[in-house]
Amino acid sequence: MSGTAKRPWTGAVRERAVGALPPEKLLPDSQPAYMASWIYIFGVLSLASLVLLIASGMILSLQGPDWWHSSGIGHFFNSIHLWSVELFFFFMIVHLWGKYWMAAWRGGRARVWITGTVTFLVAIPCALTGYVSQQNFDSQWISTQAKDALNAAGIGSFWNLMNFGQMYTYHVLLLPLAVVGLVAAHVLLVRKHGIVPPFQISDEPPATPAPRPATAEPMP
């Protein structure tokens, strides 16, 4: 038997977490000067839309999926839910375009790019399961049409679009959990690696991005 005391796993996790994301990186009070561009705001706009989306969805779930058919308040929150998902995808796509043309996977940021792309891919079925949860003729039409597509792809025996309970659970629990988890990982990775610098126009070699450069601007 060894004489050394066994180290608790909590300490190892803490040291690893603080090593990867020290407080000044996790909650920075300044950002590089090149962030002063409109193209850098679409990530946070996507996040704001997601917060509104989750909040309105939680309120809708309190009364069930057919609440909005019979209540003005329910209709209001359903509209908030609809327009926040419209904005979420709108901002997310502009964010994706910006990062694609910036080659945002540069400088060891491959995982940042991958988590962002997978978030977009997971958000699509998350929205589509919402379409089949509307409890109206529209949702019936969409589910019967989409059922044929999944059957043709050979996966209809597992994902049954006509099974409302399955689709609703995917919409309000499993897929939102995946989206929020991926977004959290994406944001933490952005904090760890820093935002991607723009391409250099001159022939000079690109400067290595530092977490707190001399030309940093204070965050609002």
Binding site: H75, E86, V94
Partner: protein, 55 residues
Amino acid sequence: MSAAIFNLNHPSNTVHWHFFSMSVSNVIVIVLMVIVFAFAILAPFPGRSRKEPTE
């Protein structure tokens, strides 16, 4: 229940051009995204000019 601002009680209008087929509403959203993207690239950010990097 209040009425919609636009009359929605008809099949959606579609843009057809050779193989391309898309609802007008989707075309409008995509064009808006392209306009916003161009704005984000080209429009000056407030306060940017007086804080250019000196390195």
